[in-house]
Amino acid sequence: MIRTKLILELGFKRYLVPPVKRAVMMTGNTAAAWAARLAEVDYIPAYPITPQTEIIEKLAEWIANGEMKAKLTILESEHSMLTAAGTGALSGARVFTATSSQGLLYAYEMLYNVAGWRAPIVLVNVSRAVAAPITLEPDHNDFLSTRDSGFILLHAETCQEVLDLILIAYRVSEDYRVLLPSIVNMDGFHISFTREPVILPEIEEVRRFLPRYNYVNPFRAGKHSAKGVTVLRPPLYSFYKYQMHFSSLNAVKVFKEACSEFEEHFARRYDVVEKYMLDDAEYAIVMMGSFSTIGKKAVRIFREEGFSVGLLKIRMVRPFPKEDIREALKNKKGVIVIDQNISPGFGGILYGEICSALYGFRDRPPLILSVIGGVGGKTLTIDEIRYVFEYLLDCERSGKEPRPILLFREDELEEVKSLLKVGFGGDVFQL
């Protein structure tokens, strides 16, 4: 009772501090660098790749001028970078690293290893579409390709969320009920290079929220240990993998606990999903990442027009918070899942995940529409969201089975046509 009162009072006091006062304009990349600095990471193995490079440039600058005490090593590839990150964490250092797209895929083998080593690093991935064709523009295929690796996967929508989720990720990853590495994802360009107001937490407050990393059995003189060793007995392999699975599932609860403490310290509230005007809504749009901001705007507009619609933003992708998703989408008349990725031969990855979370659930929505948009940096407009929403309503009225929609606007088609004309030396659509 007293404790509750104290927390309320403390919380109240903190709320009194006007947060905008300390807000600084910065890019998502800079926010990520600030998070690493505030988490007082010991070790940063790095390798440059667009659009992530600004993060390590910032950290290199702070280390060079003495503002930050950490060891930064530029390796010769992301594969080596992630290896060093993992062994660094097993040696007792708090490790931060970052990459994008091709880099993440180049390190792919080590994602599984670092997770299997139970090395609680935090890796920031700045989403960028994967070659071929090679591009610099964002989508989520790189991030989502890691979903079976054992990493905890978190996706930020804003620059502030990038900073906050990195701090929370360390809490979750280093928790002994989890002890798995995390990826905090942000969208390339839309967040990485876009300046937004970000409130920088005080270092003392971060220290109170995030205690010093203390690994159980690091490599030390006089203490023998063997890590990453071969197992040749199949049941042993299964045993370790099941352990990783259960530890990952624990991360839902641990993340929620960390978020509620985070709120006490910093007065910002997070959860595994974010419900935007959703509770009383009849229809839901499911999205993740920076385009959720566009989705939220669409929701406000449709609400003004009299439609009962809300948005569910997926913040945690692994572990997949099935219970929260079921609860959020319970009894909705229809759901639109907008995927900013494409699994050729299947469709939208998030759509499949949402369907599997809802299948077998008694109160599941009868209509789930798969929409793919924003692949390879293609923009998403309110009109497109309106189009798919109207299609969903049409399916509901007519009883038609909804078919997946791959968004492509008239103006985009014209642009592609004119480029193909140059490429082929004639009107390819006439051939």
Binding site: T87, S91, A93, M110, A226, K227
Partner: protein
């Protein structure tokens, strides 16, 4: 043999200190790699973490057993030097921040086969050497992918039979390419210490590690590692094979300090390479059913050419 007057290792008796690789491993009997590791580890001492890439030796540490009295970190095939980098960097920054006392520091050593060193891990080794990482690298070179059943690697010598270079009437010589010169590739990085070693010459190994220990930075060793099942010889012959490799001159014992090469054993008279080749099943097709004198002569010629240059450069003799 170079008489190293200031060495603490004057005779083989000086090596009889503690063993850090104890009996009981699942590796093949007669394995040249584990023999080299045993000698190597005696000199290095117990406060070591070995960082390993996929290879035969990976199976030495098999949960829940390890023959090592030191620590072990298995990474993946291409990235053991990067794993060493992570451990070294972490220990360094934690000591710098005063979070761990300096007496908890460890030597960081990489151990890989030739597949990892010459092929898939060449990039990560080059990176680590270039960065001046303070570590040891022990490459046990059995001249093929031994653990997967003896397929050729870029360390395989001319004329060897491997599972992927079978001698046939169309391809009588077996492996057609020359062994990659990893020593020269590593030497181009000008590391503080680089050497070739052989388990047949334990004093040479001891003195080289003793010398290397004085340097901060990459300390690199390439060891000839006779492989009974792959090469095809009796398991008790391992040391004889390694000695023949040295005495025929096909495996020179040398070191390079900041890139300056010096041979630590210069045979006054080379044994004919035939003596080495004919004892191993991997070269059997060069002798049976008919002798392939041309290939044997090519191998012999290259060895002689190599040593002529050494005699000229290091002894001032023109032969």
């Amino acid at each position: 043999m170079e008489m190293s007057s200031n060495s603490r290792y004057r005779s083989i008796k000086d090596l009889l200190s503690e063993d850090y690789v104890v009996a009981g491993t699942p590796l093949c009997s007669g394995c040249g790699a584990i023999l080299t590791l045993r000698i190597f580890h005696k000199i290095l001492g117990g406060n070591v973490v070995w960082v390993n890439a996929a290879g035969c030796v990976t199976l030495m540490v098999n949960y829940p057993f390890t023959p090592l009295k030191s620590s072990w970190m298995y990474t993946a095939m291409a990235c053991a030097p990067a794993g060493a980098q992570g451990i070294r960097d972490a220990l360094d920054i934690l000591m710098e921040k005063g979070r761990i006392p300096v007496d908890q520091d460890l030597k960081v050593a990489v151990i890989t086969g030739d597949g990892a060193a010459y092929d898939i891990g060449l990039q990560s080794s080059s990176g680590a050497i270039y960065r001046g990482l303070d570590f040891y690298y022990l490459c046990y070179d059995n001249e093929a992918y031994g653990n997967t059943g003896f397929q050729f690697s870029s360390a395989t010598p001319l004329g060897s039979r491997t599972a992927t270079s079978p001698p046939t009437p169309l391809n009588p010589e077996g492996y057609k390419k020359k062994k990659k010169d990893l020593f020269e590739i590593w030497r181009a990085h000008k590391p503080p210490y680089l050497a070739t070693i052989s388990p047949s010459h334990p004093l040479d190994i001891a003195r080289k590690i003793e010398k290397a220990e004085k340097y901060r930075g990459p300390k690199l060793f390439i060891a000839i590692s006779p492989c009974p099942p792959g090469w095809g010889f009796e398991t008790m012959e391992t040391v004889r094979m390694a000695r023949l490799a040295v005495e025929t001159g096909i495996w020179p014992l040398k070191e390079a300090i900041y890139g300056e090469v010096k041979h630590t054993y210069i045979p006054r008279k080379l044994k004919p390479v035939e003596e080495y080749l004919k004892t191993q099943a991997r070269f059997r097709h060069l002798f049976y059913p008919v002798k392939n004198a041309e290939i044997i002569q090519t191998i012999q010629g290259e060895i002689e050419e190599y040593w002529r240059e050494v005699y000229r450069r290091e002894l001032g003799e023109n032969i």
